[in-house]
């Protein structure tokens, strides 16, 4: 009998597929994971304390840096929180513009997540390149309205920075026209690929009960078979005006998470088409509330959450009546979705760890805050 020994490996903090500066402390038996502990905080900048030192509006550009893939969604959650705290109404057109932006964000995030998932799996960046192409188109649109591709800083309390430029809507129409072809192609390229099936099916299964008790949210929760989408469960903004379905998985493995994301992109496109149809005229609406630069909400607290592409993104604000938040807490979806990682990986191979991590879809800007 050979005597064998466990191997302890630090995957990260400098590693190609940890999606940032992130460390997985693993104990291996051969290539099989016995124990895995995520270690993070390398990107910690105490964002919440920074938020307490800034005025309400000054925090808006900082929320872009949380989940830098979806700055629009972060802006939305934060704007909703401050609006709830200060009791600010949002004009109708601005609400539609917000929904358009956030749904575009969802498409680009899911495209990116799928691309990176396959990059982690060793597909030599092809899927990623296709995803990035679509993402660049969406970023072009963001740049058109907000002036920046990633750090959009577009939402304001009670509206958005500026109205859509005239060239925006035709471009969006073109984009949505090409979208089904892109999604179908991605699916054709991937979803029946035998290698992919072998790599993703029955890997990292998260059962329903565990998904709930682990507080995971977003596509990960839905892939486990729970049709919980905040847009339906507690409709915010104007999401009660759109028809769309909630894709759910049946097994809760990596493959389901991937399929749920693909389907969510289709549903987002549906929402976008409806929003474009319903979008009210620009006339008479004042969507840039310049007067509200200095928000001074009454004493109290507010918690709002949105279905960000990665899951439930919540902002909990406590106001002491000054121009700065007294407490500024972010419920970051990637952070909490990371909790079950150790359990999901146990018993799998090293190669599966990166795939499971990719399927959780984390952004370290949000995890470490």
């Amino acid at each position: 009998m050979l005597s064998t020994d466990e191997l302890q490996i630090n995957i990260g903090p400098q590693h190609p597929s940890t999606h940032g500066v992130f460390r997985l402390l693993t104990r291996l038996e051969g290539e099989t994971i016995i124990e895995l502990t995520p270690v993070f905080g390398y990107l910690h900048r105490n964002h919440e304390q920074l938020g307490e030192a800034n005025s309400y509006l000054q925090n808006m550009p900082f929320t872009d840096r949380l989940d830098y893939f979806n700055s629009m969604a972060n802006n939305h959650a934060y704007a909703l929180a401050v609006e709830k705290l200060a009791g600010i109404e949002v004009p109708e057109r601005a609400e539609y513009i917000r929904v358009i932006m956030v749904e575009l964000t969802r498409i680009l995030n899911h495209a990116g997540a799928i691309g990176f998932l396959f990059n982690d799996m060793g597909a030599w960046q092809t899927q990623l390149a296709f995803s990035m192409r679509e993402r660049e188109k969406i970023l072009d649109l963001f740049e058109m309205v907000s002036g920046a591709r990633m750090m959009c800083n577009y939402f304001r309390f009670g509206g958005v920075v500026r109205d859509l430029p005239p060239e925006f809507l035709p471009a969006l129409q073109d984009l949505l026209e090409a979208m089904p072809a892109f999604i179908d192609e991605l699916e054709r390229l991937l979803s029946e690929n035998e290698i992919l099936l072998a790599r993703t099916q029955n890997i990292g299964i998260l059962p329903k009960e565990l998904a709930i008790s682990y507080s995971v949210t977003g596509p990960m929760l839905r892939a486990s078979g729970i049709p919980y989408d905040i847009r339906k469960a507690e409709p915010y903004s104007i999401y009660d005006r759109f028809d769309f379905d909630i894709p759910i998985g049946s097994v809760g493995d990596v493959y389901d998470r991937f399929l749920v994301r693909i389907e969510e992109m289709r549903q987002s496109r549906r929402i976008l088409l409806q929003a474009l149809e319903q979008l009210p005229d620009a006339t008479g609406s004042h969507i840039n509330p310049k007067a509200r630069q200095n928000v001074r909400p009454p004493v109290g607290d507010a918690y709002t959450r949105i279905e960000s592409p990665k899951g439930e993104l919540g902002f909990y604000l406590v106001s002491d009546g000054s121009t700065k938040p007294y407490r500024y807490k972010i419920r970051a979806p990637s952070f909490i979705n990371l909790t079950p990682l150790g359990d999901l990986c146990r018993g799998h191979k090293i190669a599966d760890v990166v795939v499971i991590l990719g399927s959780i879809d984390i952004v370290l800007g949000e995890v470490d805050r």
């Binding site: 105490n46 919440e48 008790s213 507080s215 469960a233 607290d301 959450r305 909990y316 002491d320 909790t339």
Partner: protein
Amino acid sequence: MSDDNSELSARQRDEARAALQRDLPFALSPSGSFPSPEGGPDLLATSDIVVEAQQIAAVARYLRASLNYIYLSNITAVDLLAHGCFELVYHFYRLSGGPALTIKTRLPREKPELPSLTPFWPGAAFQEREAYDLFGIVFKGHPDLRRIYMWDEFEGFPMRKDFVRQGDKYLSE
């Protein structure tokens, strides 16, 4: 839209308060009382349910078992320095939808200890570690209560309002 929501959440809150009053009356009467400073804003005033800190695990499990709030979404610690206490805010949800049930609990700043929810909701593990790391709140029964963001040798709890920040010396000049 938002009116509907606030009405719904008020109704949920009242129901939960009534149920807790009936089944866990001892949890609803917080033991310590914290003074409000004169002049400053009263951050303690709230319409949410405030429970006794040491009973939080019992309350949470009761909510899950009897009232169907099975989804623990968010744990927030707030440092109410002027009142001399920490406030912990828990947001619970039902899977059938609807707004959050907010449960608040307060701890003395001198000895911030309360039971952990991690044994019942493993998803609370990181959030409690975060509160421990940044506020120094000790969750009894947490299986792995270590610092999560700051390095292990770090001294102090940076999110406390009385934490001396590195930049403060420049601000005072």
